[in-house]
Symmetry: none
Subunit: 227 residues, 4 copies
DNA sequence: AATGAATGAGCGTTCATTCAT
DNA sequence: TATGAATGAACGCTCATTCAT
């Protein structure tokens, strides 16, 4: 996970204030990552920054705003990563897909990412601010994937490319809690990523658009072949 | 998501006690699902059951134990589902894989599953009880998958089958927060599940064991084929 | 000021709870009377009762409700006083008026009344609950006065009787902060009450209905008479 | 209510400082009038002036001093009004009394007066500064009234004139919360003021000094007359 | 004169937990 | 079994005040 880039609030003009806001968001992220959302309290954040609650609420008058800026800052970091990868010229679209998958699934092994995203998902289920931020970052991720997929399969319709992007994105994210930092299957992360790359590249290269709409039974035909 | 089957604790001898514990766990699950973990308070649970906090603490002296039983009960429901599917005789292994995938990814569209599992993942990051329960249920899921994979690809080593099972399992779970109940991409759940079935069946049927270990570059060879 | 008669809430069934609520309201009234509204905090009330804040909010989940019950209980005491006086058979209506005035203006010398009502008036300007309670108690007071006035002056229309009742009531209340408990002019309270009785009785007995509507200039005619 | 005339403090030498203090006191009065004393915070005042809390505390190092100046400034406005009315030459003393009553009870219908004075009365019960200011303004009011009463009734002793002045003053003030700005009985303010003028003029003109000392029973004689 | 920053206390409220009945 | 009552800590937030710049 990357450094936070706070958007600022009104304190943006003062150097001390900017630094304080950055410190607060960093501390908040650390609390969220290390102790979990239920412990993300104003007091815990203030303690980690080394200021008083009173002073914390000078910068953030309420927790809602702080959470909003925290999620925004964290997510902005990923968005910038995606943009960099997309702009990176690569020989083949498949290579770009591979790099993208390796980047996402590699990053998911960092402590911050491993802990941040499940918290975001849970939060998004009951918090509109979190839901909006989550929606935003994954839309960017899918846009990047859809662009790569489009260059690999110009024959596919936009809607199909979007579905494939969604499938690849969601599948990658699902590995967070298994091969993430300190997680049970962290040891096989490398193999899992290999499988992922292989599976996704193969899927994109060879899927028949009819299969997306369920017009091309897979398992049953496989049965016949096997029989 | 299925009815909860509380394991009981010491109240297992009394019929009334069993019912009360079941009511409590159902209420607790509802609170968790509908309001989120931070709102899963003893008071909220008691209110939903229609008893007092004092009486709730007769059944559960502390929140830890209640949470433990709640997770256990919810998870036991899934374990029973997996067992039923595995025992179900099917013509082909691929069909069984398809059914398994369709079951998991279909269930993930229910309100309870959509909300319960992200909460469990987030919780597991900072709570050992949750981590243990999560570990347990996914081990069962992977065991089921590994068994099916083994019947599809007897040539693969156990370790490779386990990795493939992990990949399929994690990939499926990752769709919870995207095509789950009320989620942004719920509308394309059907297409996504088609893609998943197609992708997983194809992956299992055709993956080369060397690819798992990274000995068979995918994207680069793909480039050559494409070129 | 009289003993508080709390209406109860849900705790009305339990003897301990009833006593606790009564203790709370008494303590709250004492805080309001002795320290003023800005110091009427949950902590101050709890301290005076000898319980913890946590326990206080077991009886009153929020301050709003507590304030409502406090005002209601205090005001109910006065309402009962008014009713008793009205029912009290007296030889002449004028005697009843005198008794009423002496009761109100006598009570206004008690510490509780002297401090409670200005607080209520100030509160009513920005708090709807207080405004409603204030409106209620003075309506009762005016009803009592209007009834007496009606028996003294059956020739007056209801609207005129109501206006006279309002004038007498408001005039009496205005003395609270001057001849009330410990106030600057407390020493002449007795003389002031004599003047009040004399003035009100004389007013009711001799006012011309036209004067109420401004059709009978007072000062100017007085000038002529004086001239 | 009239414009505030701040007495200055040490900032009196600087024109900008004078203006700033005036702005602060005006803002403070507005907060007190519109939001009530509990909301009369340094922050609210500063916000209304458009300065920071830090700067506010340059002009007023503590809230006590600010409150003192606020009350003083507001009250000085009334004192000047009283003086103007007294100096105003009128044909008859009764006319002067009528004008005084109409002025006071007319002013009491302005938003500022309606809200300011109940706040002052409540405050005076627990704040010596407020008590002193309140004492001061009403002494002026009573002095004015006593002077008029003296010219109407040269036969009365000073003590009796003072008591009558107190009665008239207190009675008038008592109408604030009933016929004041936006209050329940505002609609009959005009009739109430007519009654007040009629009642006060009649009282002053005809009261027997013995009645003040309770030597001339009013209601009982009335009974006889009625009987 | 004016700001931004900071403190420490206190606010109303909620929490898990305990316990006598 | 079940309730009502109670605690003490923590929650998000606001407050008057201080102070370096």
């Amino acid at each position: 996970m990357r450094k936070l880039k706070p958007q600022g609030r009104d304190n943006s003009n003062s150097r001390r204030g900017q630094q304080a806001v950055a410190d607060i968001l960093n501390a908040a992220r650390d609390v969220l990552v290390e102790e979990g959302y239920p412990r993300l309290t104003m007091r815990n954040i203030a303690k980690r920054v080394g200021i008083t609650v009173g002073n914390l609420s000078y910068y953030y008058a309420n927790k809602r705003d702080l959470l909003h800026d925290l999620l925004e800052a964290v997510i902005q970091g990923y968005v910038e990563d995606f943009e960099r990868i997309i702009k990176d010229p690569k020989n083949s679209p498949a290579e770009r897909l591979e790099e993208f998958v390796r980047f996402i699934m590699g990053d998911l092994g960092t402590k911050e990412t491993t802990n941040f995203f499940p918290a975001l998902w849970a939060l998004a289920n009951h918090d509109e601010v979190a839901a909006a931020e989550m929606s935003f970052v994954y839309q960017i991720e899918r846009d990047a994937l859809a662009e790569i997929i489009g260059s690999m399969r110009p024959d596919l319709r936009k809607k199909d490319r979007d579905i494939l992007a969604l499938f690849v994105s969601a599948s990658m994210e699902g590995h967070t809690m298994f091969i993430g930092y300190g997680r049970e299957k962290r040891a096989v992360a490398s193999e899992i990523i290999n499988v992922a790359v292989s599976s996704f590249v193969s899927l994109i290269e060879s899927i028949d658009a009819r299969a997306i709409r369920g017009l091309k039974p897979v398992a049953k035909s496989a049965r016949k072949l096997a029989g």
